[in-house]
Amino acid sequence: MSFLFRRTRALEAQIDQFLDTVSEGCLVFEQGVDDYLRGDREEFEERHKAIRILEAKADGLRREIETRLYVESLIPDHRGDVLGLLESLDNVIDQAKQTLAQFEVERPDVPESLAAEYTTLARVCVQSSQHLVDSCRAFFREITAVRDHLHKVYFFEKEADRLADALKRRVFSMDLDLARKIHLRYFCLHIEKVSDRAEEVADRLAIYTIKRTI
C-alpha cells in the first residue's frame, strides 16, 4: 500500500520540518535575549543571525506546503484550517525574530537588577510557544491529545502576562529617566508579544480541533 502514501510522506516530513523550525527559532530567541542581557555581544549576534535564517526557512517551507496542498488537492476539507494554522504559526517565529532585531537596533539599557526578570519572561514566553508546537503536532497526528497541550499554552501565556505586569511595575517604580522607563517597558511588551502570538494560534487551533472531531 506504500504507493498510496508516496505523495503525502514528503509533505508530512515538510510539515514536521516547519514545526521543528518554529520551535528551534523560539529556543534561539530565548538564548538570544539571555546573551544580550549577559552582555555577550558576539553570541547575541550569532543568535540573531540564526533566527533570521530559521525564519526565512520557515517562510519557504510554509509556502511550499501551501502550494503542494493546493496543487495536489490534498485534505480539501481541512486545507483552509491547515493553511491558517501554518500562517499564524509563522507569525510566532516572526515576532521572535523582530524582537531580537529590536534588541540589536535599539540596544536597551537594562539595569542588572532587572536582567533575571527579563530572562524569566522570555523563558516563559518560549515555553508557551513550545507547547503550541506540540499541540500543532498533535493536531496532525493525534487529535485527541491537542487539548492536553493547549491548556499549557494558555497557562504560560497567562504567566507571561503576570510576569510582564510585575516587571513593568518594577521598571516604573525605579529611579530612572522616564525615557529609559518607557524604553524598558517597550522591550517587556516586545517579549510578551511572543506568547500573545502563541495564544492567538492556540485559539485558532482549538476551533480547528473541534471541527475535526465532530
Binding site: 498510496l4 502514501f5 505523495r7 503525502t8 509533505l11 508530512e12 510539515i15 488537492s73 490534498l74 485534505i75 480539501p76 476539507d77 481541512h78 491547515v82 493536531f139 496532525f140 497526528r141 493525534e142 487529535i143 485527541t144 471541527k211 475535526r212 465532530i214
Partner: protein
C-alpha cells in the same frame, strides 16, 4: 417494434443513474477528493455488474405486484414512472425515488386492466420504504461510532488519513454502485421481464445469458450512461449541500446506504441467512436517496447535533406523492396508449377470480384489445 418499447425503461435507467449516483460519489467529487472521471468510471462499471447480478432479486417482487404482459403496457408504466420522477423532483424537490414511482405506475396498470394487486407484496414494499431509512440511520450511527473510535486509535497523520479516506471513498462508492445496480435494476427493467425482446437463452462465445440477464445488463448500461453523462452537476450540488458533514461522516453515509441497498437486493445474502436459519429480508427495491437521508439523520443523532424533522417529513411525503403521481400518469398514459394509439397494454382478458389476499378490481380501461 418491441425494442422501441424498451426506450422508456432505458430513459428511467438513465435518470436513475444521473440522480442516484450522487448518493455514493457526491461528497467525494464535490470536495475534489475524487475526480469525476474516476467516480464515473468506477460507478458505471459496478452499477453494470450489480444490474447483471440482480436478475434474480428485486425484479421478482415487482413481478408479483403486477405481471405486465404487453410491451406497450410495460413501456407506458416505465414512462409514467420516469415522468412522475421528473415532475415531483423538479416541482417539489422531494427525495422521491424510482422505486416508489414504479410501484405507483404498476398499481396503476393493475387498476387499468382490472388485475388484482398482491396485498402481501404491496405491504412488503410499503414496509420496506419505512424500514429503509430507519435501518440506514441505525447502521450509520453504529458505523460512525465504530469507525471514529478506530480512526482515533490508529493515530494517523492528517495527510495519511486523507489518503485512506480517498481510497475508502472509491471502495465504498463501488460497493454503493453495485448495490444500486443490483437493487434498483428492477425499477428500470422489471416491468419488461415478461415482454423481453431477447431470446430465452443467448450464447455469447463460451457463455450463455438468459433473456432477463441481457435485459438487466442493458438497463445497467443505461444507468451507467446516466452516471457518465449527467450525474456530475447533481454530485456537486448534493455534495456541497452535505459539507456540514465531516469527510468521515460522508463516508459512513455512503457505506450505510450501500449496505441497505445490498441487504434488500442480494439473493446470495438471502440464501446465506436462510441457510443459517435466520430471518431473511424481503428482496425489494429501495430508495438510495432516502437511505442516505436516513443515514445522515442517524449520524446527527449520535453526534447530538440536533435532528431536523423537515427531511423526515419530506421522505414521508415522497412515499405518498411519488406513487400517487405515477399511478395517475400511468392511468392516463395507458388510456392514451390503448385508445389513441390503439396499442394493447395487456394481453389477457379480465381475471377469472381474485385470489385470496388480493384486491379484486374492475378494469378502468375496459377490455383489452
Amino acid at each position: 417494434m418491441s425494442w422501441l418499447f424498451l426506450t422508456s425503461g432505458l430513459f428511467l435507467g438513465w435518470s436513475l443513474g444521473a440522480n442516484d449516483a450522487a448518493n455514493f460519489f457526491g461528497t467525494a467529487v464535490a470536495t475534489r477528493m475524487l475526480r469525476f472521471r474516476t467516480a464515473a468510471l468506477v460507478g458505471s462499471l459496478f452499477v453494470v455488474l450489480g444490474a447483471w447480478s440482480g436478475a434474480q432479486g428485486t425484479a421478482k417482487t415487482l413481478g408479483h405486484l403486477g405481471a405486465i404482459d404487453a410491451p406497450a403496457g410495460a413501456f407506458t408504466v416505465a414512462l409514467a414512472a420516469a415522468a412522475a420522477l421528473a415532475l415531483t423532483l423538479s416541482k417539489s424537490g422531494l427525495p422521491v425515488s424510482s422505486t416508489q414511482a414504479i410501484v405507483g405506475a404498476i398499481v396503476g396498470w393493475n387498476l387499468f386492466n382490472g388485475r388484482p394487486t398482491d396485498l402481501k407484496t404491496l405491504t412488503e414494499l410499503l414496509s420496506s420504504w419505512i424500514l429503509c431509512p430507519i435501518l440506514s440511520g441505525g447502521l450509520a450511527a453504529g458505523l460512525f461510532l465504530a469507525i471514529r473510535r478506530f480512526v482515533y486509535r490508529l493515530r494517523l497523520h492528517l495527510l495519511e488519513a486523507d489518503t485512506w479516506l480517498r481510497f475508502a471513498f472509491i471502495v465504498a462508492g463501488a460497493f454503493g454502485a453495485y448495490g444500486l445496480g443490483q437493487n434498483n435494476i428492477a425499477n428500470v427493467m422489471g416491468v419488461f421481464v415478461r415482454v423481453s425482446p431477447f431470446p430465452a437463452v443467448t450464447r455469447i462465445g463460451p457463455w450463455t445469458a438468459t433473456s432477463v440477464e441481457l435485459l438487466f445488463l442493458l438497463g445497467g448500461v443505461a444507468i451507467a450512461a446516466g452516471i457518465t453523462t449527467y450525474s456530475r452537476r447533481i454530485m456537486v450540488r448534493l455534495g456541497t449541500g452535505l459539507t456540514s458533514l465531516s469527510p468521515l461522516a460522508g463516508l459512513v453515509v455512503v457505506l450505510a446506504t450501500a449496505l441497505v441497498l445490498f441487504l434488500f437486493g442480494s439473493v446470495e445474502l438471502q440464501r446465506l441467512l436462510r441457510a443459517a436459519h435466520l430471518p431473511g429480508w424481503p428482496l425489494v427495491p429501495v430508495s438510495a436517496t432516502q437511505a442516505a437521508v436516513g443515514a445522515i439523520l442517524g449520524i446527527s443523532l449520535v453526534r447530538r447535533s440536533g435532528i431536523r424533522l423537515k427531511p423526515l417529513g419530506k421522505i414521508a411525503l415522497g412515499w405518498v406523492v411519488s406513487p400517487l403521481v405515477a399511478l395517475l400518469i400511468s392511468l392516463v398514459g395507458l388510456y392514451v396508449a390503448q385508445n389513441v394509439f390503439e396499442l394493447p397494454v395487456s394481453n389477457s382478458r379480465r381475471p377469472a377470480a381474485a385470489a385470496a389476499g388480493e384486491v379484486p378490481s374492475a378494469p378502468l380501461g375496459g377490455e383489452s384489445r
